[in-house]
């Protein structure tokens, strides 16, 4: 079953990257407010809004 020796580590690596991305998003506050951002674009004009927790 040599293909497992390649696919499993590859999958784990990919998954690891995804988990890291999600954790980074949490740390940056992307999950702090679930309601506001969904409707925000309706009111925003051309300028980019700041992130909810600032820099």
């Amino acid at each position: 079953m040599s293909f497992l020796e390649i696919t499993i580590p590859a999958t784990l690596l990919l998954a690891g990257v995804l988990v890291w991305l999600v954790l980074r998003a949490v740390r940056r506050g992307e999950f702090d407010d679930f309601e506001g951002p969904a409707q925000r674009h309706v009111f925003d004009d051309d300028r980019c809004p700041e992130r909810p927790d600032g820099p």
Binding site: M1, L4, I8, A15, L18, V19, V22, L23, V26, R27, G29, F31, D32, D33, F34, E35, G36, A38, Q39, R40, V42, F43, D44, P49, E50, R51, P52, D53, G54
Partner: protein
């Protein structure tokens, strides 16, 4: 806004607690307005927490100007320190979310590997099988360690207090699964439960995160009320007035209190005379007259005219502080009621351990090899692990808290829902709870030849735009009657007596609204019929305002307006509903006997006590708890004032109305912001429905155990069937709990009012 240009300037930052945001459009308006201010580098508003976060240049703008900007848009705002308030809570929430996400990822992957092992029995060779097992175990490692930190902590804290909380069987369950998986892999058996370990951690984390976020939402709504309270004072110094934090006032400081503002600390009036609304502190519903050299209490509200007050006690040592101390003591004395799920796990954990031990003994007696015995005993522990038990309470509580918020009731904690379901006695405060908490016109008695509308119109014209409670009540009645109010100037206010409007020149027409003493001073007599009506109204506890005219056409009393703090429109119905729920209802108030008796009669409450001090209220709670029965009864206290705070804390369930004092809102377990007393009955009903649901959930979870544990003990249990059964019982419990989202009150007037 050019951030680059501001980079060299040191920026200050502040948080603003906002209120009145109705939609994300409001969020946008506030953000835009703040960003447009000179000196503001960035501003962002969170709709979820109702908080703004602003970076600004200290030299060009200050926090009060930011607040003023938001207020000019019609929203309430108050600054707070984001460092102490926001960051710790947010960091905690984020970490919980990270643990949940990581554990969900691990659980899914371990399950995937395990499924391959379960189903690929014939087609996978032994080397690969072993590799996959070790993979599953390796993936569970972070799950049972980092993700499970809250359970390890909880179990340890519980054990140190010699209590078997739910964390203990949880840790036992996933811990043994993990150890057994390693032992099973080494011994080459089918007993590999790595998937159970990570699944248990994930499901129970999910339950807790849900409960935590529901609680955090309720708590942030509560904080919104509290943080908006003014905590500043206007201090008079040699250079003029300055705004300082109330806590920094010292004895001897001179503060200016404008009409409508709260008096920041206990003191003596140095200049001016006014009326003070002490209802939040003393429960007295009528404003009292205070003039020079008389003392005033911190936390009471100045309603009439500007006064200057010499502070006689620091904020930390005054009347409010004494009540706070009473409150703390009451909180400490409140009996600790264990949550249902903890009570069950207290029996459950030893029972499971016993079952596992008995299983081991039986198999040893039957002559099984040692490793086999250990694995079978461990599978008993694992299948018994209370996944469904862990979800049973949180999901039901989340659904209930969410549903209750829909009709204007905020539960501060899940434990409050459970306690509220057991309420047997309800003690209601009068002012602001049973009643609206403000004066309204109870009756209008015109003298001969006058009619109700013209008496009201005259009174409203004299009172003008005053913030005095009597003036507000008269104005409201006039508005409701559709009367266009004329303007009369000049107005002269006589504290404690009333208002005289119109020029003081000898022949000019003057209108008066006020006490009998005011009329007497102006030489106006009151007709006997009107006197008789006045006497009757006073007996009912109403306060009276006479309306009179004086001028070229002679002096005459035009009529009389009786004012009272009337019970809420739905008070009688709500009291009946509470009684129907089997709850003993009593009215306990600090107000005068006549007013309390009248309110009790109007609301249909048979039992009442008047002129009760805050300390006596606490005693009353204790007395009712043990009265009549051998088991202590659960007592609910509903109130809104500072004088209720200690009783709210002492009660098993404290309910505060949202317009009440901060300290009451802090002390309570449940905040009601629907202006109906019926919300109290709804609260008890939904709490009972929730407890019912929790009981069903626990029964379901235990049923699963009753089936699975004997199978495991006999050595029949395949890990796959254990995993499937565990998943099914968790799903059943969740689905059963979510039914609460569609809960309906027994009363039909619910549903029209959604918060």
């Amino acid at each position: 806004m050019t951030t680059a240009a501001l980079q060299d300037v040191p920026l200050a930052e502040t948080g603003l607690q906002l209120d009145g945001l109705r939609c994300t459009g409001c969020v946008h308006r506030v953000e835009q307005a703040l960003r447009a201010l000179p000196g503001v580098a960035s501003a962002s508003v969170s709709y979820a927490t109702h908080r703004a976060w602003v970076q600004y240049e200290r030299k060009r703008i200050d926090a009060p100007a930011l607040v003023a900007c938001v207020q000019s848009l019609g929203y309430a705002a108050a600054p707070y320190d984001p460092e102490t308030v926001d960051r710790p809570a947010r960091a905690h929430a984020r970490q919980a979310l990270m643990r949940l996400l990581v554990s969900s990822f691990l659980a899914a992957n371990v399950m995937l590997v395990s499924l391959a092992l379960y189903f690929g029995t014939g087609s996978i060779d032994e080397t690969t099988r072993r590799a996959l097992r070790w993979l599953a175990i390796a993936l569970s490692v972070p799950s049972v360690t980092w993700c499970a930190v809250p359970f390890w902590r909880g179990a340890w804290a519980g054990l140190r207090r010699r209590k078997l909380t739910l964390d203990v069987p949880v840790v036992l369950g996933f811990g043994t699964s993990f150890v057994v998986s390693i032992a099973g892999t080494l011994a080459e058996t089918t007993h590999v439960f790595a998937d159970s370990a990570s699944m248990i951690v994930f499901l129970i984390l999910l339950g807790r995160t849900l409960e935590g976020s529901a609680r955090a939402r309720a708590a942030s709504a509560v904080e919104r009320f509290v943080r908006l309270a003014p905590e500043t004072a206007q201090r008079r110094t040699a250079h003029g007035l300055e705004t300082v934090p109330a806590a920094s006032l010292g004895v001897g400081d001179l503060v200016v209190v404008a009409p409508g503002q709260a008096i920041p600390a206990d003191g003596r009036i140095a200049r001016g005379a006014t009326e003070v609304d002490e209802s939040l502190v003393s429960g007295e519903s009528q404003p009292v007259v205070r003039s020079v050299t008389e003392s005033v209490m911190g936390g009471t509200r100045n309603v009439l005219a500007e006064i200057e007050v010499i502070v006689t006690a620091r904020v930390g040592a005054g009347t409010l502080a004494r009540i706070a101390a009473l409150l703390e003591r009451a909180q400490a004395e409140r009996p600790h009621v264990q949550r249902l799920v903890d009570r069950i796990s207290g029996v459950f954990a030893p029972a499971v351990l016993l079952a596992a031990g008995a299983t081991a003994v039986a198999w040893v007696l039957a002559g099984a090899p040692a490793i086999e015995v250990a694995l079978i005993a461990a599978s008993v522990l694992i299948v018994a692990c209370p996944c469904a038990l862990g979800l049973a309470t949180p999901v039901a509580i989340v659904a209930a808290i969410g549903r209750a918020a829909g009709f204007g009731v905020l539960f501060k904690s899940g434990a409050a829902v459970e306690r509220c379901a057991r309420v047997e006695v309800a003690l209601l405060d009068k002012t602001g709870t049973l009643t609206e908490g403000r004066l309204s016109v109870a009756e209008i008695v015109p003298s001969d030849g006058m009619d109700v509308a013209s008496v009201l119109a005259a009174a409203a014209a004299v009172e003008g735009a005053s913030t005095h409670p009597i003036a507000a009540a008269i104005r409201e009645a006039a508005e409701r009657a559709g009367i266009v109010v004329a303007e009369v100037t000049p107005r002269h206010v006589v504290p404690g007596q009333g208002v005289v409007a119109g020029s003081a020149q000898s022949d000019a027409l003057q209108l008066l609204v006020g006490s009998r003493a005011l009329l007497a001073e102006h030489g106006i007599s009151v007709e006997p019929e009107l006197s008789e009506s006045a006497r009757k109204a006073a007996d009912r506890g109403e306060s009276l305002a006479f309306i009179a005219r004086k001028g070229a056409g002679g002096k005459r009393a035009l009529g009389l307006i009786g004012l009272a703090d009337l019970p809420r429109a739905d008070a009688a119905k709500a009291v009946r509903r509470l009684t129907d729920l089997g709850i003993e209802v009593a009215l306990v108030s600090g107000d005068h006997h006549a007013a309390v008796a009248e309110a009790a009669a109007r609301a249909g409450i048979g039992e009442y006590r008047a002129e009760v001090s805050p300390a006596a209220k606490v005693k009353e709670v204790g007395a009712r708890r043990i009265a009549g029965t051998n088991a202590p009864r659960t007592v609910l206290v509903a109130g809104d004032g500072v004088n209720d705070a200690a009783a709210l804390a002492a009660a098993d369930v404290g309910v505060a109305f949202a317009r009440g004092a901060d300290v009451a809102i802090h002390a309570a377990d449940i905040i009601v912001h629907a202006p109906r007393l019926g919300a109290l009955a709804d609260t008890v009903e939904i709490a009972r429905a929730t407890l019912g649901r929790i009981r069903e959930n626990l029964a379901l979870a235990l049923l699963y155990n009753a089936v699975a544990v004997p199978l495991a003990a006999m050595g029949f249990l395949h890990p796959l069937s254990a995993a499937i059964a565990m998943g099914l019982s968790s799903l059943a419990v969740t689905a059963n709990s979510l039914r609460l989202l569609g809960w309906r009150s027994s009363s039909s007037d619910l549903g029209t009012e959604r918060a």
